[in-house]
């Protein structure tokens, strides 16, 4: 047998009272692609941070290609051939600098001439971008680019370097199927040349199609290792452990749940994961049941109505309506304009054109505050840049959008805040330091950075329900959450009637799971509208790639 590219034994990491990693032993051999999966907070990112030298283990040893290795800092790890893409992409790019500088960021840490010019940097960056097929203007400031592009920059950088071990922590969370597919191809190519790959994802289809072996982490422990071919049922079961079937976070809501709308993960088996890539065959339960009459029936009144809005100047205008109790899905490839549309609806961006009404009353938000006042809640796409306030507790994050509701005469009520935060934590099953056990109540005072990425996502999405909105706008709400939590969020969204919900996601599968009706965008233009029943992955894929569905009503051709 070949010497493992990396082998860890007895690795543990504790944060105060939290055991993020507990006696983990694993190895990855050259040329092998190992999937690392687990629920939110299982310890995946912690393991990766240790292997990449970003943080130090509490106990345990690592050998790289047979040699003992103590990753003192990221530079040492990189020098030893470990290339890492971390989960939080904003830990990978430097705002205020250009794409070229970001593509060559790690080269400035290494040996090489001390003298450099813009031309040299650009040349180097062009080579990196070229080999990754990245087409972004190299002199664009990186903060002006969407998250997916930034993710691709970070990936291109990692892939460009000679590596013995390539570690990718949820690299596809901001990517859509096409890009994810292209990435998978590159990973396979790399593995074929002998690179060992450790791959983390909540998209089980990717794990299934890509990985030679799958390791499952739960509560910081390595529970099972599967060798390809893996069955999704078994890995989900290993992942969720005692939680399979995933327990509803709020049991009392269970009874109110519409029976035909609680499929998928609540049963512990989310077979619909397959739909990540449109070419994957649809599984039986992917065909969503037709919406119940009370949910999206034409009898329910229209809550939010937009006419003649555009995703951007010069784009074709479109109209949309959401009714009470209805979940409207918006999908399209990365850059299709979903975010731009939702930002306009949520007051985060100036309305390009058109008119909007909420409950029949004219609605023209100049600021997100106006939207909140009108009963429109908008959970933005990028967690760390657009929602997280560093150092703040879960409680403070939950109450931030509705501070007035927790204060009298301006004075904040701690009691009311605590109650709200606990409601969110319970509803979405937020898990982090201080939760559960007999330490009740301590959890919501934990700093948000001490939660795993997925749990942070639950907090920043879930808090908007606490504002008591009429319309809930969610942009990529499932980013980084595990299959169980994804079902939880989906369920809460659907149960929050008489709320009208718009969910945007570049993953058609996620949309199919939650939406009653689906709008598909392509390059800022509406290409079709489907009911959940009509939405098969094939149809969605066709529309997303730009084929306009016959009968799609666009308001007008041009401005």
């Amino acid at each position: 047998m070949t010497v493992p590219a990396i082998a860890v034994s007895g690795l543990s990491k504790t944060y105060g009272a939290t055991r993020a990693l507990d006696d983990v032993t694993l190895d990855v051999r050259p040329g092998e692609i190992v999937g690392l999966i687990g629920t939110n907070g299982a310890g995946k990112s912690t393991l990766i941070k240790i292997l990449s030298g970003a943080t130090r283990p509490t106990a345990g040893g690592i050998t790289l290609a047979g040699h003992p290795f103590t990753p003192g800092d990221p530079l040492a790890a990189q020098a030893a051939g470990v290339q890492t893409v971390h989960q939080n992409i904003d830990d990978g790019v430097v705002f205020g600098t250009t794409v070229a500088e970001n593509l060559t960021l790690d080269s400035i840490a290494h040996r090489g001439g001390w003298f450099t010019t813009r031309a040299r940097i650009t040349a180097k960056a062009r080579a990196i971008a070229g080999s990754s097929g990245l087409s972004v203007p190299l002199d664009a400031p990186v903060e002006s680019l969407p998250a997916s592009t930034r993710q691709q920059i970070v990936l291109a950088r990692a892939l460009s370097r000679k590596a013995g071990l390539l570690i990718l922590d949820e690299p596809t969370s901001t990517l859509s199927a096409t890009e994810a597919g292209a990435l998978a191809e590159k990973i396979r190519t790399a593995a074929a040349t002998g690179v060992a790959v450790l791959y983390v994802s909540h998209h089980l289809s990717e794990i299934e199609s890509l990985c030679d072996r799958v390791m499952v982490l739960r509560d910081g422990r390595l529970r099972r290792t599967f060798t390809a071919p893996v069955t999704r049922e078994s890995i989900v079961e290993a992942m969720l452990g005692d939680f399979a079937p995933h327990p509803p976070a709020t049991p009392e809501r269970d009874s109110t749940m519409t029976p035909e709308r609680t499929p998928i993960a609540a049963k512990g088996l989310p077979p619909t994961e397959a739909g990540r890539s449109a070419s994957v065959e649809p599984s039986a339960s992917a065909a969503p049941p037709s919406p119940g009459p009370t949910r999206a029936g034409k009898t329910a009144s229209v809550v939010l109505e937009a006419a003649g809005v555009r995703t951007g100047p010069g784009k074709v205008a479109l109209s949309l309506q959401v009714r009470e109790g209805e979940v409207l899905g918006v999908t399209g490839l990365v850059g299709a304009g979903k975010t731009e549309l939702l930002e306009q609806l949520g007051g985060a961006r100036r309305l390009v054109s058109g008119e909007m009404r909420v409950d029949g009353k004219p609605y023209r938000p100049g600021h997100p505050k106006d939207a909140v006042t009108a009963g429109v809640a908008f959970a933005a796409e990028e967690r760390s840049a657009q929602a997280i306030v560093p150092g703040w507790s879960i409680r403070a994050h939950v109450t931030l959008p509705a501070l007035w509701a927790h204060s009298r005469l301006g004075l904040l009520s701690r009691k009311s805040e605590t109650a709200a935060a606990q409601r969110v934590a319970e509803r979405f099953g937020v898990r982090g330091p201080g939760f559960g056990g007999n330490r009740n109540g301590a959890g919501i005072e934990a700093a948000i950075e001490t939660l795993s990425g997925g749990n942070q996502q639950k907090v920043v999405v879930g808090r908007w329900l606490e504002t008591g909105p009429k319309v809930l706008l969610l942009d990529e709400p499932f980013r980084g959450v595990d299959v169980g939590a994804r079902a939880d969020i989906g369920r809460v969204i659907r149960d929050a009637a008489p709320l009208a919900v718009i969910v945007a996601s570049s993953d058609p599968q996620e949309i199919v799971e939650v939406a009653d009706r689906i709008l598909v965008l392509h390059e800022g233009v509406l290409t079709g509208e489907l009911t959940a029943a009509e939405a098969t992955p094939e149809r969605l894929a066709t529309l997303m790639s730009g084929t306009v569905m016959s009968g799609t009503v666009n308001d007008e051709e041009t401005e």
């Binding site: 009272a17 997100p368 505050k369 657009q386 929602a387 931030l400 927790h406």
Partner: protein
């Protein structure tokens, strides 16, 4: 997270050698306060006159003006701003109040209003520059600083204003009114008015920052302005609010200083920028806050005031005072920050 996990957690304490996590936590939270208390005790033992009520009032009075400016600076810092113009504002307010009474022979009340309006004017310029013209805070308030330092000079052609000064070859008609002077030198009970004003403002700013939703919004903006905006906080208005509070605090300080000086001193405000920034910055380290906070600022101001007063009482040569001040400050900072719990994990090296 269950009981089993808790057991594990305690078991993991051993590998990482933690020399008394409690002690570290305490040192972190109370490091600066402890140094302050130690100083108080040492001074009181060495100089019985130090530990008297009368002296306590003098110390408090000596920090009152700086403290009030520092409270304003603290508020401006919460949003991530920085008010470099605070000292200049104090100086301008001193000149304006003096001119109002001495040169224009108006009442003390008018002078107070004029002073507050000057504070609002400074705030207005800061808001225009930072919020409307989007100039970064440091540069913008630097510009405002020059502007109002200059204004204070221009108002009087660079001369100080005092009763009996010559204006156009005639003596100025007015003088400081008694009521106005009382704001600087008067007492209520035995407590000097500036001390009372400082205490009240400290409580007000504390409540504002910690217990009101406006304070929460200010901190949110300082933490992540975009996240605050998307959560429905009107960032521009709150940033303006922060500068208005800062300007008003500086104006109140200027009024008290003017009342104490009894004249309009050119450059009277200059020392207050550095001192108030120092107090506010030292305050970051108090009680483990690691961010601008009212209580910390008060303690920071006291820290400096007690140190200077005590050293003077001990007859330490003036040239040694700055050094000791620096050494004590550095010591307190090192204690506070190196012992931050979990810091080793978080800080970027």
């Amino acid at each position: 997270m269950t009981t089993s996990q808790q057991a594990t957690a305690s078991a993991t304490e051993e590998p990482r050698p933690r020399r008394g996590p409690r002690a570290a936590e305490v040192a972190y939270r109370y490091g600066l306060v402890a140094v302050l208390v130690a100083m108080l005790i040492v001074f009181a033992v060495l100089r019985p006159a130090f530990g008297t009520y009368a002296n306590a009032l003098i110390v408090l009075q000596s920090v009152a003006v700086v403290g009030v400016v520092a409270l304003g600076v603290t508020v401006s810092m919460t949003t991530g701003g920085f008010d470099l113009s605070a000292g200049a504002c104090v100086g301008a307010v001193v000149m304006v109040t003096a001119l109002t009474m001495v040169r224009f022979n108006l009442t003390g009340a008018t002078a107070i209003v004029a002073g507050l309006v000057t504070g609002l004017l400074v705030a207005g310029v800061n808001v225009l520059l930072t919020v409307v013209a989007r100039v970064p805070d440091l540069v913008a308030t630097l510009g405002t600083m020059f502007l109002f330092q200059g204004l204070a000079l221009i108002l009087t052609s660079g001369q100080s204003v005092s009763a009996g000064m010559t204006v156009n070859d005639a003596p100025a008609p007015g003088k400081y009114t008694e009521g106005f002077t009382w704001l600087g030198g008067g007492t209520i009970g035995s407590v000097p008015v500036p001390v009372i004003v400082f205490a009240l403002l400290a409580i007000a700013v504390y409540v504002l920052l910690v217990h009101t939703r406006w304070g929460r919004a200010l901190y949110a903006i300082g933490g992540n302005a975009e996240a605050a905006r998307l959560a429905g906080i009107r960032v521009a208005r709150y940033r303006a609010l922060a500068y208005v509070v800062s300007g008003l605090c500086a104006a109140v300080a200027g009024i008290m200083l003017s009342a104490r000086l009894g004249r309009g001193d050119v450059g009277a405000g200059d020392p207050y920028l550095l001192q108030s920034v120092a107090a506010a910055l030292i305050g970051h380290a108090v009680l483990g806050a690691n961010r601008p906070n009212a209580l910390g600022t008060v303690i920071g101001a006291l820290f400096i005031g007690v140190m200077i007063n005590g050293m003077t009482m001990l007859n330490a040569p003036y040239y040694a005072q700055t050094f000791v001040q620096g050494a004590l400050l550095v010591g307190a900072l090192v204690v506070s920050y190196t012992l931050t719990p979990g810091r080793r994990e978080r800080t970027v090296r």
